[in-house]
């Protein structure tokens, strides 16, 4: 179906179902209950799940298939955001032209950086991409201030031209929309103790993520995808098989740059501002982590990884010491204080510590990521069948 085999189609349906019912799935606890802080079903966070999912899917096309580890992908995300905001400022608040421009500009930018960086491979490639991203970040902060608005970040203003939109009479900054359908508009459904929010912005992002995911599945199963995997495995043999590896890797680089640009554009559509910190190399490191955590080279891994990281980032950084005290309040005082002191460094502002530890644990113990881990468990439990499609492309 849709040009996919049964397993892939089932996976696509699964991702579609997860995306469609996310407002329910991510809100398992009643609003009034103490556990409601673990709910993640509000639009802002769900949007970030799927947007970073797109980012990671794109990164995986490069890293998962060709093995080229880019440490500068956040630059494309940033470029996408800037392009989208400029589109809102100059043309219209419609998200469609903004997204098109972010993809195009990010693609061109990736073409330029990829053309240079892909002359080298291995660690040299990683350092070149890192250098380019750091350079873009520095430029965005300094000389390019007329375009990026430096440290403040690029924002919308009342007196922006917006040539396609009708004259602004409301006296307030307009909001992003898709042909009049406002991104921030949402319907809230109250059901017994639960409250579910369905937002236009989220469903647009989810739809785009599904399309992006579908394209990546097709790409993985295509001859092009196989050539990329061949390049990862044995570049020498590729060259002696009559294939020119450089345009292949460049095409993969540009495609993944366009995915990053799309993600950056979507971030700006949901919240129309763009700052240089989106381009910093820690942001590049984050997408690497999402991909390897989920499972580099697998189809669904990056989506899972992105959701996992963004969920825990949100939940962990919300926990503060009073919440910890509340959790352990049933214990004797000395034990309560001890436990709070143990957990405190890892939550709230300490979320990055947890992230770093997680990063190391995954690389050390689970190089194949969550997907491989899941397969291992499934095999232990006797679900696994030995089939050839257990090879890396799962």
């Amino acid at each position: 179906m849709l040009g996919l085999n049964r397993r892939d189609f089932a996976m696509l349906l699964l991702v579609a179902a997860l995306a469609l019912f996310a407002p329910f799935i991510l809100n398992p606890f009643p609003t009034a209950s103490g556990l409601s802080q673990f709910n993640a079903g509000y639009p802002d966070l769900m949007q970030r799940f799927v947007i970073f999912g797109i980012f990671a899917i794109g990164f995986n096309i490069l890293f998962g298939l060709t093995g080229y580890l880019s440490f500068g992908h956040a630059a494309f995300l940033g470029v996408g955001s800037y392009s989208a905001v400029w589109m809102f400022k100059l043309l219209s608040m419609n998200v469609l032209p903004a997204l098109v421009l972010s993809v195009v500009i990010a693609g061109l930018f990736a073409l330029l950086i990829g053309y240079v960086s892909l002359r080298r491979s291995g660690i040299y490639f990683s350092i070149l991409t890192l250098a380019f991203a750091q350079m873009s970040f520095n430029l965005a902060y300094s000389v390019l201030t007329p375009i990026t608005n430096g440290e403040t970040g690029l924002q919308l203003a009342l007196d922006d031209p917006r040539i396609l939109d009708a004259a602004n009479t409301a006296g307030s900054v307009p909001v992003t929309s898709l042909f009049g359908l406002e991104m921030r508009s949402a319907v809230t459904l109250d059901l017994a103790g639960w409250s579910f929010t369905f937002s236009v912005g989220y469903y647009l992002c989810a739809l785009i993520m599904l399309v992006a995911f579908y394209i990546s599945v097709r790409l993985f199963r295509s001859p092009f995808g196989m050539m990329l995997r061949a390049i990862k495995t044995n570049q020498q043999r590729v060259n002696y098989t009559g294939l020119n590896s450089r345009p292949y890797t460049l095409a993969a680089f540009v495609i993944s740059g366009m995915y990053a640009g799309l993600a950056g554009g979507l971030l700006a559509c949901m919240d129309p501002l763009a700052g240089a910190d989106r381009m910093q190399w820690t942001a590049s490191g984050e997408v690497v982590l999402m991909t390897i955590l989920g499972g580099a080279g697998t189809l669904i891994g990056p989506v899972l990884g992105a959701g996992f990281i963004k969920y825990f980032e949100n939940i962990f950084s919300k926990i503060n010491d009073s919440i910890l005290h509340q959790w352990f309040s049933f214990l004797p005082d000395w034990m309560e204080n001890l436990l709070v002191n143990i957990f405190y460094p890892f939550v709230g502002k300490g979320w990055h510590l947890t992230l770093g530890i997680l990063f190391m644990l995954v690389v050390i113990f689970l190089p194949g990521g969550l997907v491989q881990g899941g397969q291992k468990i499934a095999r232990k439990l006797g679900f696994g069948k030995k089939s050839n499609s257990d090879t890396p492309a799962e």
Binding site: G3, P223, M226, T233, N234, R237, T241, G242, Y248, T391
Partner: protein, 251 residues
């Protein structure tokens, strides 16, 4: 003039003369072996043929077209395939996928973004690859992970990957190096089978005399970068110059 023609090729590495005035003419549909002691320049010569090295002077033509200055992938697209000393395969992929990649390279050329069609849905390509596996008696291994195969099977797979491209010329770099006797004999049989079934020219760089004498139509002996003699196997066997070159090495 033969299908492959090498004239007056010289190659220096710093002060070391690796090849001097090498001439070689390989007739179509023959097996031509290049032998010689260690350091005779066999590998250097081979690397000049596939575009990995560029000779300092001289010409190398294939089907009357020069290959000099061309990249390995361009030379492959002209119809020259190469088998490596240690089998170079795509070890992360399945056996069938390994053979399909050269099929696509043959059909689509050196670069084509064919990103949305389903690979396994392309029946003619799959058939072609499977037929090749049948020919080389490894169809039962089609879904195996290439990395998990024995060395002999990897050699066979690499051979399949080269042959499926229907090359005019197959270059073999010590195809039996480091192999046990049984594997060596299997490889000889395989090469004999290929030679019998196909119109193909082969150039074999080899150390093992047994392999050379059981396969080749003509032999060139290389010593210290220069061809000593070129003749049919029967005449090479007792040739005094050859003995000298090899005994010289032993002493």
């Amino acid at each position: 003039m033969g299908i492959l023609n090498v004239q007056n090729v010289n190659k220096r590495f710093g002060g070391l003369k690796a090849l001097s005035n090498v001439n070689l003419d390989v007739k179509e549909n023959t097996v031509h072996a290049v032998i010689g002691p260690n350091g005779a320049g066999k590998s250097t010569l081979l690397n000049c043929l596939v575009g990995k090295l560029i000779p300092d002077t001289g010409t190398v033509t294939f089907q009357d077209k020069s290959v000099l200055g061309k990249k390995p992938f361009e030379i492959n697209q002209m119809g020259i395939s190469r088998v490596f000393q240690t089998p170079e395969i795509f070890s992360d992929l399945s056996v069938l996928e390994n053979v399909m990649i050269p099929c696509f390279a043959r059909r689509d050329g050196s670069f084509k973004v064919n990103a949305l069609s389903n690979m396994m849905g392309q029946r003619d390509m799959v058939d072609q690859a499977e037929q090749m596996l049948i020919d080389l008696h490894m169809i039962d291994k089609r879904n195996m992970h290439a990395a998990s195969m024995s060395r002999g099977d990897k050699r066979r797979l690499e051979m399949a990957m080269c042959l499926v491209q229907q090359p005019r010329l197959l270059l073999l770099d010590e195809p039996t190096a480091g192999m046990a006797r049984a594997d060596t004999n299997n490889t000889i049989d395989l090469l004999k089978q290929i030679k019998a079934e196909r119109d193909i020219t082969m150039v074999i760089i080899e150390h093992d005399m047994h392999v050379v004498f059981s396969l080749s139509d003509r032999i060139t002996v290389l010593a210290q970068g220069t061809p000593l003699v070129e003749d049919i196997p029967e005449n090479i066997k007792g040739h005094p110059k050859v003995k000298e070159a090899y005994l010289g090495e032993a002493a």
